[in-house]
Symmetry: C2
Subunit: 397 residues, 2 copies
C-alpha cells in the first residue's frame, strides 16, 4: 500500500495553502532544491565538460525516460525525455504521417490541447497541399475513424473538463481502419495508471511539470512502440538522435530505437529536478493512486454539490470516464476563482466559465478537500467574489 501521508511530507507546500492546481504545475519535491544545487555546484562547477559522461548527463534523458515508462505502461527502453511537449507532438505526428504515405488526414478533437492542433497545422503546412487536420467533437472521434485517416491524435484527458478517452477502445478502432495513434498524456501521466503497451498505442507524448511534479519548464517525454521503433524517420533529426553523435559525420543516421527521438543537448538542470520528482514516484503504486484520486474527486463533487447549488458539474459524473480533476461551470467563475485563491485554495479558470480543480493524492488528502469545500461554500454563500475580484483587479492595474 502506498502511504500518501509519507509522500505528502516529501513536498514543500506553502503554509496555509491548499493546492488544487497540480494538474497545471506540480509543487516542489523537497529534495529537488538539493538535487539541482548538486548539479549546479558539484557537477557543472567541478566537472565542467566531463559532466556529460562523469555525471551521466548524456544518458539521463533515456534513464529518466524509463522511470516515466513504468508510470505509463511502456516497455523498458522505449521512452526518452527532452524538449517541450509541443516539440514532441511534432516529432510523433511527423513520424506517424510518414508511416502512412498514402493517407492525408490527421483526426483530432476540439477537446485537444490547442498547442497540439497548432503543431499539427504547422507540420501540415510544411508537408504541402492535400493534407488535412480534421477536428471533431470528442464523442464523434470513433465515428470519424475512416480509411482516410493516417493518424488519430488525441489528448487522453480533456484539460478543461477532465473527460477521459478510452485509450484501448479508440486505439483498436483506429488500427481497424489502418490509422496510427498519437496519445498526449499531459493530464494522464501521474494522474492514473496508463497502459500504453497493453492498449496498443503507437506513439505517446507528455509533459512532466503537471502531475509528475518536475517543475516549471520540465522536459517532455516521448514513447514509440517497439514495433515501430526502428522504422520511424525523425523529422527533427538532431545530432543527439544520431547513431554516433560524436563521430560528427556530415550525414544523418538515426540512432537505435527511441534514442533517435532525441534532438539537441538535454536541459541538465531541469533533468536534475525531474530526477528528484521521480524519486517520489518510485514509491507509488499506481492502482493505489487511482483509488485515492477517485475518492478525493468523489468527495469534492459531493461536498460542492451539497454546499454550492450554483455550480454545475462540468466533469463526467462517472469516475471511470474522468481523469484526476473536477471542473464546474459557473458564469462568474473567473471572479469566484480569484476569490478562492485569495482565501488560500488554488484552482484555476478556463474560459468561458470553467472552475478547475486537480486532485493529486501525493500531496492532497481528505482533510484538504473538506477544507476546500468549506471555503468554496462560504465564498459562494456570501458571494465574496465581487469584492475580492475588485481588489485583485485593483492590484493588477
Amino acid at each position: 500500500m502506498t502511504d500518501f501521508a509519507t509522500t505528502k511530507a516529501l513536498f514543500h507546500l506553502p503554509e496555509g495553502m491548499i493546492y488544487l492546481d497540480g494538474n497545471s504545475l506540480g509543487p516542489l519535491p523537497k529534495t529537488a532544491a538539493t538535487r539541482v544545487t548538486r548539479t549546479v555546484e558539484a557537477e557543472w562547477g567541478e566537472m565542467l565538460i566531463t559532466g556529460w559522461n562523469k555525471a551521466g548527463w548524456m544518458a539521463q534523458p533515456s534513464v529518466l525516460g524509463d522511470r516515466i515508462g513504468r508510470l505509463i505502461g511502456a516497455e523498458p527502453g522505449h521512452v526518452t525525455t527532452g524538449d517541450t511537449l509541443s516539440i514532441k507532438v511534432y516529432q510523433a505526428l511527423a513520424a506517424a504521417l510518414e508511416m502512412r504515405p498514402d493517407r492525408r488526414v490527421i483526426l483530432s478533437d476540439n477537446g485537444n490541447f490547442p498547442s497540439d492542433l497548432y503543431m499539427a497545422e504547422g507540420l501540415l503546412r510544411q508537408l504541402g497541399s492535400g493534407y488535412e487536420l480534421r477536428v471533431v467533437d470528442p464523442d464523434q472521434v470513433a465515428d470519424a475513424l475512416t480509411d482516410e485517416i493516417a493518424v488519430m491524435m488525441l489528448t487522453q484527458v480533456d484539460y478543461r473538463t477532465g473527460r477521459m478517452h478510452d485509450m484501448a477502445d479508440l486505439t483498436a478502432r483506429a488500427h481497424a481502419v489502418g490509422a496510427l495513434t498519437v496519445w498526449d498524456l499531459a493530464h494522464s501521466a501521474g494522474a492514473f495508471p496508463v497502459h500504453l503497451a497493453r492498449d496498443g498505442a503507437d506513439f505517446a507524448v507528455g509533459c512532466t511539470y503537471k502531475y509528475l511534479n518536475a517543475g516549471p519548464g520540465a522536459p517532455a517525454f516521448i514513447y514509440v512502440a517497439p514495433r515501430h521503433a526502428e522504422r520511424v524517420q525523425p523529422a527533427l533529426s538532431g545530432w543527439l538522435g544520431h547513431e554516433a553523435p560524436f563521430a560528427f559525420d556530415l550525414d544523418y543516421r538515426p540512432g537505435a530505437r527511441i534514442e533517435r527521438m532525441r534532438v539537441g543537448t538535454p536541459p541538465v538542470l531541469q533533468m536534475a529536478a525531474l530526477e528528484a520528482s521521480l524519486d517520489i514516484w518510485d514509491q507509488v503504486d499506481l492502482d493505489d493512486l487511482r483509488a485515492a484520486s477517485v475518492a478525493l474527486c468523489e468527495q469534492f463533487i459531493a461536498g460542492v454539490e451539497a454546499t454550492c447549488p450554483d455550480l454545475v458539474l462540468a466533469s463526467p459524473r462517472d469516475a471511470a470516464q474522468r481523469g484526476s480533476q473536477v471542473s464546474f461551470h459557473f458564469a462568474d467563475g473567473y471572479a469566484a476563482m480569484q476569490a478562492l485563491i485569495a482565501h488560500g485554495v488554488i484552482g484555476d479558470f478556463r474560459a468561458p466559465d470553467i472552475m478547475r480543480f486537480g486532485f493529486t493524492p501525493l500531496f492532497i488528502d481528505a482533510g484538504d478537500v473538506d477544507q476546500a469545500i468549506a471555503i468554496l461554500g462560504e465564498i459562494m454563500r456570501d458571494r465574496l467574489w465581487d469584492r475580492e475580484a475588485y481588489k485583485i483587479r485593483a492590484a493588477v492595474t
Copy 2:
C-alpha cells in the same frame, strides 16, 4: 575598459585547473547557484503556478533574448530564447525556405556543425522531392551562391579550426543573388562582437552554454531581422508563439514579431542560470573582449610553436579570420589531449587529429596561457601521452 580580473573572480574555476574548453561548456558563474536555488525555492516552491507571472517566467525568454541581442548586434525586441540550437536551426531554416517558395536549394558548407546539416536533411524530407541540401567547402561558398539558392545556412566559426566566415561579405553576396541567410552563432556569441543588424543577417541562431556560460542544457536563441519579423510563418507553431496563448483558440495565429518563434513552455531553471551568466556579460565591452581574446590566442600560438614543433597550426594565422579558439593538428592528438587534461589543462579533441583550445578572457588570463604552454611543452617533449593514454583507456574499460 572591461576589467577581466574582476570578471574572472565571478566564476567558479576548480582549483589547479586551466580551463580552455569554454567553447564547449562555459564554467559556472558564482551567482548561478544562488540564482537557480532562488527560482527553485522562492519561486517554484512558494509561488507555484503564479510564478509564471509573479516571477516573470513567462516573459523571461524575450527579456533574456534582448540581453543576448546586445552581444550579437541585434535590434531590441528581435531575439528570443528557448529550446535547443538544433530546434532553432529548424525554425529559422523552415521560415527562410517558405519565404523563397520558387527556390529549392539550401547552401551550406562542410565546416558547419553536423547537427545543422542533419536538421536541414530532416526538414527537406518533410518538404518532399525537389529540394536539395548542397554542401561545399567553406572557401567555395561565395562561388556557389547562384540564383538557385533559397537559403545560405552557415556556422560563422568552424567548430574544429576556428576559421571565421566574413558575415558582412557573404550576406551581401547571398542577397545579391536573392538568397536569405541563416547564421549559426554557436562559436560567435560571446566570442567576439557580432553585428547582425549592421551586416544585414536575415536569421541567426545560437546556443548559450558555450561562451555565454549559461550551463549544461542552457536554452538556445533565435533572431529574425525586423524586416522579416511579421512575415515569417513558424513551422513549429506552438502555443507560446500564438498571438494569445491563453485564449486557447483552436486555430493558430502567429504572435507579434519574435514572439512567434517561441514554441512550448520555457525551461525556467535553465533560464535562471542564463540570467546569472548575463549579469556578467552586462559588464563586458565586446571590443575589449575581442582585443583580449586575440592577444591570448596570439600568445598561445607563439608559445606552442616555439615549444612544440610537432604541433601544426590548424587555425587561420590571421587573427581577423579566426574566432576565439586555436587548434593544432597532431597525429597522436587524442592521447596527447588526454595527457594534458590529466595535467590540469582542459582542451578537447576533434577527429581526426585536432587538439582544440578555447580562449575566453572573462576567466582566462595571460598567466593561464603561459602555464598551459609550459605544461603542453613538457608533455610533448617527454611524450607523456603514451603512458597517460594507457591509464585512461584502462579506467574506461
